[in-house]
Symmetry: C2
Subunit: 123 residues, 2 copies
Amino acid sequence: MPEVPPPAPTGDALLKVLSALGNPHRMRIIAALTENRNYVSALAREIGMGRPLLHMHLQRLEAAGLVVGTLELAEDGKAMKYFEVTPFFYELTPHTITRAAATITEKADPAERADRTAKEEAK
Amino acid sequence: MPEVPPPAPTGDALLKVLSALGNPHRMRIIAALTENRNYVSALAREIGMGRPLLHMHLQRLEAAGLVVGTLELAEDGKAMKYFEVTPFFYELTPHTITRAAATITEKADPAERADRTAKEEAK
DNA sequence: GAGATGTGTCAGAAATCTTTGACAGGTGCG
DNA sequence: CGCACCTGTCAAAGATTTCTGACACATCTC
């Protein structure tokens, strides 16, 4: 079975991944969860961070598709949300960035082209 | 000549790269400069963005080591700063992130906040 | 000199992201 | 019931990032 090359991610998706990973706390969260999956409260204690804050970071990572959380019921009936990292893979080169940049649906686009060229000096 | 495997970047370096790339404008700047090098003012017109703003973005990209700028004197004597992308290559996987996370010198580190650790064992 | 080009920087507004503390559930146990 | 866990959300404060409009300086051309 030949290794299939990773599909090119859309600009917005890659943007989410990069901004999600570009944060020391979230990087550490990925590191902690890579070693072994864990539930929110325990993870919060492990890396010394408040639950609400960790919750938000996990949400950001999950939105980027880097981790997944599943709500499981323990034997004693308590509900705990376990998080684990997804086996992601991204290659960052000028080429991949260029390719991704072409498909960005951020703000501003419909009304803009070659009209605001010599506008700043015109005062 | 065998291809040398890319060296593992330090946590702080990777952090800079990721947060630099995790921005739509900077991604487009990389895309534009990948096609051909350019000087600040022309690039600003090309992607429709104010010079001061572009200047700041280029600074961020250069600090991350993704682009380099060289001040050159044109034939007519005008000084123009040409920017071009560096052939960077980063592999993003749970493993590389974990490895990088171990070497982060961001805020909080000198004194590990391990004070409420006695309670978590009470499971 | 005026005008067009290039460079750079600065201060403050605007928009975002990060962080904290309080609250509102739920379960099982002594 | 009260305590010890778990889950989640919210509002407001705090810290950063992003963006804009001046400003200053240089060169070449008219």
